[in-house]
Structure formats: C-alpha cells, structure tokens
C-alpha cells in the first residue's frame, strides 16, 4: 500500500469515527464542535479527490458558517431538556434501514460503468472563448450559469425566509444580541487585525478564481466572516434590516447577473449567453457583484432574525 493510500485510509477511518461521534454525542455543544472538525476533514478529502474549489467551499460554508450558525443556536437553546431517547425497536429498524441504504450506495460505487461518461474534454475545449482558465468557473458562469443564478436566488430566498420569521413588534430591528465587548478586549483586537487581511484574502480568492481554484462564493464567504467578526466583537453594530444600503447590496449581485442574462437576448444567442469577445469582462463584473452580494447575504443569514430595535 503506497503512502497516498495509507493517508486516504487513515482519513476515511477518522471521518467515520468523527461522524459516529457527532451522531451519538450527548451534549449538543460537543457534537457541533466535532462537526466543525469533521467539515475541515471533509475539505481535506475533497483535495484528495482533486476538487480544490469544492474543498474551499466546504471549509468555508459547510464547516465554518454552518458550525457558527449551529453554535449560536445551541447557545440560545441551552437548558432545554432533552426529550426522551426513542425506543430500542425504532433504533434497530432505523439502523437496518440506513444500513440497507448505505449498502445500496456502496454497491453503486463499487460497480463503476465500463465506459466513463465525462464532460471534461468538452468543458476544456470550449473554455478558451470565454477567457477563463479554471474549468469549474467555466461551468459555474458559462455552461451552467442558470444554475448559479438560481443558487443566488435560493440564498436570497433563505434570507427572506429568515427575515419573515421576525416577530411583528421587532420588524425593522437589528439582528443579533447586544454585544458589550470592551474596545480593548481580545475579540476587539482580533476584529481590528483580521478583517483587513481577510478582505485581501477574499479579493484574491475571487480574482484568482478565473484561472485557479477560487471564485465568488469562496471570496464572498470570507467577506461575510470578516463582517461577522467585527459585529460579534462589538466594534460595529449589525445593520437593522430595513436599511436601504443593506437591501441594495443584497440585491445588486443577482440583479446584475439577471440583467446581463437578459441582455444576452439582444446581444448574443439567448438567455445568459455572452457576446463574443466580451465574455471575460462581463464574467468579471458578475463575479464582483456576486461576491459583494454573497458576503452581505451570508452574513445576514448567519446573524438571524432581529432581536431588538435599533436605539433611536
């Protein structure tokens, strides 16, 4: 067994052990912390599968933002009594059912098709006209741009769903609890040092996503994370949800994307097709607008429903 194989086996064993820990842990807090570590290990597994863009997205959104969201929820739900554990027969039946599903999926994995159908050659062959070097970015913004547009709309709908659960008396209020962290505390130090570096990293990840692994979603998530660090350190207040600037930033990404898509009817072959020679600049405009929008939307979704009214 070569070194690479030994590493893969160790990683898979660790992943399964940690997943079992997440399912059977008693306290929600420890389960969520272990889940964050699990997400980072899955990101390493993605690198081993030669999908670096996915690894970046998993580490940022799948592990980081989801873990933060769940930790906040666990903190607010602390003290609720756990309902009784479900009966032994249900657990045995569920275990058999899930084992069957796992075995079925495993059988599908272990019987690969004789002829592998792959779109990689087609993706690489059609990449030069768009000026991109990263085939995943090509898929996201040229071949399947419709999916990316709808994905952004799904994020927007999630934000609307989160905001729609505001109690009536708190409409227009500020999400997140009041933070009393002192301006000379540790979190304040982090919130002064990290965001400038984080913004540079986010811009770099978005810019280099055209030719190397990266992209708008990964960069936007780092922007959202920097914003959340500043808010939870108490250096800035979370914006109230009826501010026009916030709503404009949330909408500008999908709006520009949709506008360029509709302009494709007049200037090129159809919806979301780019006119020849202008593909790269248009994609850059779309990516920049999307990064900004994704940063603000993810930050607002992670902050949750308004908890208090803005002080007048």
């Amino acid at each position: 067994m070569s070194m690479a194989n030994a590493f893969d086996v160790a990683l898979v064993a660790l992943l399964l052990a940690i997943a079992v820990w997440v399912v059977v842990a008693r306290a929600a807090f420890s389960a969520i912390v272990v889940f964050i570590a699990y997400g980072l290990l899955v990101a390493i597994a993605w690198v081993r599968l030669f999908a670096v863009d996915v690894a970046l997205t998993e580490a940022a959104i799948g592990s980081g933002l989801t873990g933060m969201l769940l930790l906040g929820a666990a903190a607010r739900l602390r003290g609720t009594t756990a309902s009784g554990r479900c009966g032994l027969t249900l657990r045995i039946v569920a275990a058999m059912f899930c084992a069957m599903i796992s075995l079925g999926l495993g059988a599908v994995i272990l019987t690969p098709p004789d002829v592998v159908v792959t779109l990689a050659p087609a993706a690489m062959a059609n990449l030069p006209p768009s000026g991109l070097g990263n085939p995943v970015a090509g898929v996201l913004f040229v071949y399947r741009a419709f999916d990316t547009l709808l994905e952004k709309v799904v994020l927007l709908l999630a934000l609307l769903g989160v905001w729609s659960l505001t109690p009536d008396r708190l409409w227009g209020g500020v999400p997140g609890p009041q933070v009393d962290a002192g301006p000379d505390g540790m979190l304040a130090f982090l919130a002064q040092l990290l965001p400038p570096l984080g913004i540079v990293v986010a811009v770099y990840m978005t810019w280099t996503g055209a030719d190397h692994p990266g992209g708008a979603f990964q960069g936007g998530t780092v922007l959202a994370a920097m914003w959340i660090v500043v808010i939870i350190a108490g250096l800035q207040n979370a914006p109230s949800i009826d501010q026009r600037l916030v709503r404009f930033l949330v909408v500008v990404g999908p709006a520009i994307f949709l506008g360029i898509g509709l302009a494709g009817f007049a200037l090129a072959d159809g919806f979301l097709s780019y006119p020849a020679g202008y593909a790269k600049p248009l994609i850059i405009v779309v990516e920049v607008a999307l990064t900004l929008s994704i940063g603000v939307t993810l930050g607002l979704v992670a902050l949750g429903t308004p908890q208090r009214m803005r002080r007048q």
Binding site: N5, V12, L15, L16, A19, V22, V23, A28, F35, Y38, R48, L49, D53, V54, E58, G62, L65, T66, L69, L70, A73, R76, L77, G79, T80, T81, S83, G84, L90, A94, F97, C98, A99, I101, S102, L103, L105, G106, V117, T118, L119, P121, A123, P135, V136, V139, R144, D147, E151, V154, A158, G161, V162, L165, P167, G215, F217, L298, V301, T305
Partner: protein
C-alpha cells in the same frame, strides 16, 4: 481499490450514518446536524463520480464539482432556515422539541401578537 472508490464508500457510510442520526435523534438541533452529515456524504459520492471522469488533463470532471458547490450553498441555506424556525419555535413555546406531549422545557414563552 483506488482513492476515489474508498472515498465513495466513505460517503455511502456517512450518508447512512446521517440518516440514522436524522431518524433516531429526538432533538431538532441534532436532526439538523445529522442532515448536514447526510449532505456531505452525498456530496462525496458526487465527488467520486467527478474523479472518475478525469480527462483532458484535469483531475476531475468539472461539471459534478460545480454541482456540489451549488449543493453546499443550498444545504447551508436550508440549514439556516431550519435553525431559524427552531429558534422561533423555542421563543414562541418555550420548548425546543416537536413532540406535542413533551413537558415545558425551559423559561417563559413569549407572547407575540
């Protein structure tokens, strides 16, 4: 067995584990955690399909990889909605469980109009 098949089997096992946690855990927050486990396991299976489609000098087929990126973002959106619904349930009723027979879990329930 090569790396891709190994990770595929791992993904299948993770999907089964996540489904088990989703069915048997009684707290909604733990169900949301198990749902995320199920999601990452399924995405790993997609990743194996992508890795097997390596051609034209690439390490993997980029189309399933882009689908997985979309899937991760959508899974996060679903998790966020579920968490906010759970917190709202807790604010309204004072308990964080979907069991109608469960006794009141914690402090006062808010009265919202």
């Amino acid at each position: 067995m090569n790396a891709a098949t190994l990770f595929g089997i791992c993904g299948a096992a993770l999907a089964g584990l996540g489904l088990f946690g989703l069915i048997t855990n009684s707290e909604p927050l733990r169900k949301i955690l198990a749902f995320n486990l199920l999601g990452t396991g399924t995405f790993l299976i997609f990743g194996v399909v992508a890795r097997r489609g390596a051609a034209a000098g690439l390490g993997g087929d980029p189309v399933p990889q882009a689908l997985v990126i979309t899937g991760i973002v959508v899974a996060f959106s679903a998790t966020a909605m579920a968490v906010v619904l759970l917190l709202r349930l807790f604010e309204e009723s004072g308990k964080a469980t979907l069991d109608p027979n469960e006794a009141d879990g914690a402090s006062t329930a808010e009265d919202d109009s």
